[in-house]
């Protein structure tokens, strides 16, 4: 909402500077987002006195010496006939940008140098006057900014009015607040002191009334509880006076003509939307407020043809719709230069109906903006008198009659306020007398119903006050939030434990950043060819209307983005939500962690100019790190991925924790350039985020099932060895079809408790190894907890082990 400083001052004769007003409104009413000056383009202009002037022969030009306050007289050539020595004029120094868009340059004219321009009214954009330069009647010293001499500029406050306070969408509304805050009473602006007289002809009715041949009928009293029509005759449509043009310009509304400007003046000044119809164009001089008929259309003021439906409320004449109620008028009945008789509409329309209508039509207007938030429905009578009076005065017309249809608004319901609760909620002792003074100051009526409890009736312009806390907010803000105390006091500990999925997410994130991965937070939307994903009903862009299920798919797109920027060494992860289509509940959500590896395993170093790239074994290791971080102490196994569906990822391993599937490791297929390295992905499900109702609305259920606490039994200490270890290596010829894990299982089983460690350290194929086999080498470390192992024991074990391997697996040692 644009608020003009000077217009507001016409309502409240305050003495605040624009900056003080900004701070006052921001602290107590609504935030002022910014201050701007109208005619800021005139800021560089100064006033200057002509000190000498002589005609340049054979031209209309004069050569002048001008004092612009800089101490040096400037030589200026001027083409105006009225240059007078000793007079002060608006002056543009060379370099000044003129309102017309060109810059004044220092130049030579007829051999004379000109260092600037003395300006006419038209050159300053102050009217059409161009017979000569603008003589200023002022005592101001040369060099004074022009805007300090001429009251051309206004300051506009950009106020952020929130949906609960439509009463602030006018200068009157702001004036009420400023009056309450400053203690200066507000009044009607002087420009409204001499309005055209009230007509003697009047008619009213519950749903229909007519007088002087003009009829008004409301067919939908819910949609339009009150409709006031004023007939104005003998209108001379023409330009508006200067003061009105300036008022409207300040709030960003262009002057159109005196009739339309009068309606816009009432809109921005008082918050009441009105509309002027050309009465001659209304069939049978009749106005009907009704629902639109199916198939009915209307060309609105903006030239668009609107298709109407019976859900919409329209204003019609005897034949057809002429306006969309509360939204926009029709072009056919609009006021033109030839209009002589006007029907002025000042009405109150249903907020939900205006909202539904303008949404269905996909449009919005200053009028609909106010109607859907709520106007002061008690003020329509006064507003019709005021708007018609102004319009008639401006257009030299006569107000002929007023036709009022509909019922008076129901009185507002009082809200009960316990004065003690004001102090209890705000944490400060606020006497009831102060509460009363603050609330009555902005129009509330307060009656003490019982000791300390008041019945507080809101004024007709306030629609947001239905409970005591609404009143307490008004008390708090008028008093000033900054005046309320802010002492930090102790608190009782809460009953809510950390959500286990938060705890797990933090642990996994820490493990991954420690492992050198970079956290991402990409958009969780995706595209899809089929309907297996959750679809957004009303996506903004149609290219990604689905919610993703797979985090590695999202990461793959981010990897491709990096590749397109020549970045091929990627270690990305995300902890985020996976949306799974679920028949019954619509959506099932899992919190997952996804990771992606691509490119160099280590940064290049001069000792290793070509480091290896990430391979499947890095992915396997990282999956183990992730799973152990998420489920500390649990048994993590990466197993054959049989049965895992291939999606964004071609599975290499299934990740199991204590025998339960938690995710998958695999290779990712990207849209990648030839130079990109192989890409690996890991995706684990950390847990499910339930969206079920905790309890029925309006109830609680402290016994509701809660998510299980995050896993994590404390680790057990293993005593450090006190005896020496003995080790030996085994190189075995293992058929390709035999899994290394099976060989390891046999080795462990045959070695007994004393096997402390079993590490595979080599794989070899080639010379000396038969085709279809590979040589796998393990180091076995044995230790007896109490004594040193003898060489003989170790040799015995080795022979026993080889025998078992040969018997059980037909695996033999590789001979050198």
């Amino acid at each position: 909402m644009n608020i003009s400083h000077s217009w507001l001052k016409a309502f409240v004769p305050h003495t605040l500077t624009p900056e003080q007003l900004r701070d006052l409104l921001t602290a107590h009413v609504a935030t002022v987002e910014g201050l701007s000056r109208t005619r800021a383009d005139l800021a560089p202009f100064v006033v200057a006195r002509v000190v000498e002037s002589e005609k340049i022969p054979d031209t209309k030009l004069s050569f002048n010496k001008v004092d612009d306050g800089t101490g040096t007289l400037l030589e200026v050539v001027c083409g105006a006939p009225n240059v007078t020595v000793g007079t002060i004029y608006p002056f543009a120094r060379s370099g000044t940008l003129m309102p017309a868009g060109f810059t004044i340059e220092k130049k030579k004219i007829r051999g004379f140098t000109s260092n600037g321009m003395l300006c006419s009214a038209r050159e300053l954009g102050l009217g059409e006057e161009h017979d000569g330069i603008l003589a200023l009647d002022t005592d101001a010293a040369p060099g004074t900014p022009l805007l300090d001499v001429l009251p051309l500029s206004d300051v506009v406050l950009d106020v952020d009015v929130l949906p609960n306070r439509p009463d602030l969408l006018s200068h009157l509304g702001m004036a009420r607040e400023v009056a309450a805050l400053t203690g200066i009473a507000h009044r009607l602006p002087e420009e409204l002191d001499t309005l055209a007289p009230v007509p003697t002809l009047a008619a009213s009715g519950a749903s229909e009334a007519s007088v002087g041949g003009v009829t008004v009928r409301i067919e939908d009293l819910t949609g339009a509880p009150r409709y006031c029509a004023v007939v104005i005759r003998g209108v001379k449509v023409g330009p508006s006076p200067e003061w009105l043009v300036k008022r409207l310009e300040a709030v960003g509304s262009r002057s159109i003509n005196n009739v339309v400007d009068a309606t816009n003046y009432v809109l921005h000044g008082f918050g009441q939307p009105t509309h002027a119809f050309d009465l001659a164009k209304l069939s049978r001089q009749t106005v009907v407020v009704r629902r639109a008929k199916a198939g009915e259309t209307l060309v609105t003021l903006d030239g668009a043809e609107r298709k109407l439906t019976p859900e919409m409320l329209v204003i019609a004449d005897a034949d057809r719709a002429i306006a969309i109620a509360g939204v926009m008028g029709g072009r056919d009945s609009e006021v033109t230069d030839t209009t002589t008789d006007i029907l002025l509409e000042v009405a109150s329309f249903s907020a939900p109906l205006v909202r539904a209508t303008r949404r269905a039509l996909g449009m919005s207007s200053d009028a609909s903006y106010r109607f859907e938030r709520g106007i002061d429905d008690v003020a329509t009578g006064e507003m019709s008198r005021l708007c018609a009076g102004l319009m008639a005065r401006l257009a030299g017309a006569t107000v002929e009659s007023v036709i009022s249809v509909g019922a008076a608004p129901a009185p507002r319901t009082a809200v009960s306020l316990d004065a003690a609760r004001v102090s209890r909620l705000l944490g400060d002792s606020i006497p009831a007398t102060e509460t009363r003074a603050l609330l009555t100051g902005i129009g509330f009526a307060m009656v003490e119903a019982s000791a300390g409890v008041y019945a507080v009736t809101p004024p007709s312009w306030r629609h947001d006050v239905t409970r005591d806390v609404d009143l307490i907010e008004d008390v708090a803000r008028l008093r000033g939030y900054d005046r309320l105390p802010d002492t930090l006091v102790g608190a009782r500990p809460g009953t809510v434990p950390d959500h286990p999925l938060h705890v797990v997410s933090v642990r996994v994130r820490d493990a991954l950043t420690a492992a050198g991965l970079l956290e991402t937070k990409p958009l969780p939307y995706t595209r899809s060819d089929d309907d297996s994903l959750v679809r957004v009903d009303n996506p903004l862009a149609n290219d990604e209307p689905f919610l993703r299920t797979s985090l590695v798919e999202t990461l793959s797109r981010r990897a491709e983005y990096n590749l397109s920027r020549m970045q091929g060494n990627l270690r990305l992860f995300e902890v985020g939500t996976s949306f799974i289509k679920d028949g019954a509940a619509l959506v099932r959500e899992e919190i997952r962690v996804g990771a992606l590896l691509m490119g160099l395993r280590r940064p290049v170093h001069f000792t290793e100019p070509q480091p290896p790239v990430f391979d499947a074994w890095d992915a396997k290791a990282l999956a183990e790190v992730m799973a152990r971080a998420a489920w500390p102490g649990a048994r993590v196994a990466l197993v054959n991925p049989e049965g895992e569906a291939a999606g964004a990822l071609t599975p290499l391993w299934r990740v199991e924790v204590d025998g339960t599937r938690v995710g998958v490791v695999g290779q990712l297929i990207l849209d990648a350039p030839a130079w990109a390295a192989a890409t690996f992905g890991i995706e684990l499900t950390l847990g499910e985020m339930s969206a079920a109702y905790v309890a029925a609305p309006g109830t609680h259920n402290y016994d509701a099932p809660r998510p299980a606490a995050a896993a994590g039994a404390p680790l057990r200490y293993v005593p450090l060895p006190v005896t020496p270890a003995a080790d030996f290596d085994l190189a075995l010829l293992v058929p390709d079809a035999l899994a290394a894990a099976e060989v390891e299982a046999v080795i462990r089983d045959a070695s007994g408790d004393m096997l402390e460690r079993l590490v595979m350290f080599d794989e070899f194929r080639g010379t000396g190894v038969p085709a279809g086999k590979r040589s796998l080498a393990w180091r076995l470390t044995f230790r007896h907890p109490e004594r040193t192992l003898r060489d003989k024991e170790i040799d015995g074990r080795r022979s026993q082990l080889l025998k078992t391997l040969e018997q059980k697996l037909n695996v033999v040692p590789r001979t050198a």
Binding site: H28, T31, P163, R355, R373, R424, L425, L426, G427, R467, V469, D470, Y481, L484, P485, D486, L488, V489, A491, P493, G494, T495, V496, D498, H502, R509, T513, L517, K521, P522, L523, Y525, V534, R535, D537, L540, A541, L547, R558, N562, R565, Q567, R571, L572, G576, L586, V587, E589, P603, S690, A691, V694, A695, P697, G698, T699, H700, N701, A704, R706
Partner: protein
Amino acid sequence: MTLDDFTSACSALAAEAPARIAAADSLDAWTAVRNDLVGRTAGRLTAIMGTLGEIPKEDRRVAGQAANAVKVELERLLDERQAELATSRGAGPQIDGTMPSRVTWQGARHPVTLVVDEIIEIFRELGFTVALGPEAEHAWYNFGALNFPADHPAMDLHDTLYLGKDTVLRTHTSPVQVRTLQAYPPPVRVLIPGTVHRRDPFDASHAPAFAQVEGLVVDEGITFADLKATLSHFARRFFGAGTKTRFRPSYFPFTEPSAEMDVSCGVCGGSGCSVCKQSGWIEILGSGLVHPAVLESAGLDSTRFTGWAFGLGPGRTALARHGIPDIRILYDSDVRFLEQFSR
């Protein structure tokens, strides 16, 4: 051979040896010097001591002591030098310490996570725990339970992505307020981080999905003063001890009174600059006393319990804190951006 000859031979050796030992610049050179000086077969001191028998008997004790002193001294010097050479591994060239270290890839939390984590850390000190909730949410939790008037312009502030008639992508983390109050009895002191969705175009200053952090306190006797005190404390911890706060009227359907909190501009200190649009203040968060209707949504007695809540967008805070000009950079996941946050 006289005692004098013997002792002067010893002295000469003792005078010459230190320079030679010091000059040995490798273990091989050291071995050669040692063999030459004190070697058991060809050592010069060994040779000198071999002449001890030629000295008159009465002088032998003195001569022997002199030779032994030289021997002890030389062996000390040799040991020292050997230790020096061993440490510097004098064999091979000196290393050039200006060459780069062998680094590993450094991981990093996302800048938005850094902000969220810091907020959680500050509120943990005040006894807050972390609550979570779903992103695909019942319309009732997202709007109805939070006192949004049906079909009201207040809804225009939450341009909503729908998944069905009564299911939305939550437009704020506030639904978790009601979920938490339904599941746990007061006193409740929780922080609620999470992703929220709005039907906003993806441009330099908007994203359709973004992070939010919400705080909620509900107990008996909670006041607006508690709200101001706690949030001002948070601002001083997060933005610096000298930070001033300002509260101004605002509107959220689920709080009453509602307040927007600003902090004094950290760039100009409050005098006005381009960052704070000349106001001296930076908008940080929305807050207010929990609306009684919200408490009633969770079956609480709103005459007995009161509370306060706040919500802020850590994404915007991250942009301001790190001078990131375009919000899309947070989502692009360019590794060169993400790596800037590794420490």
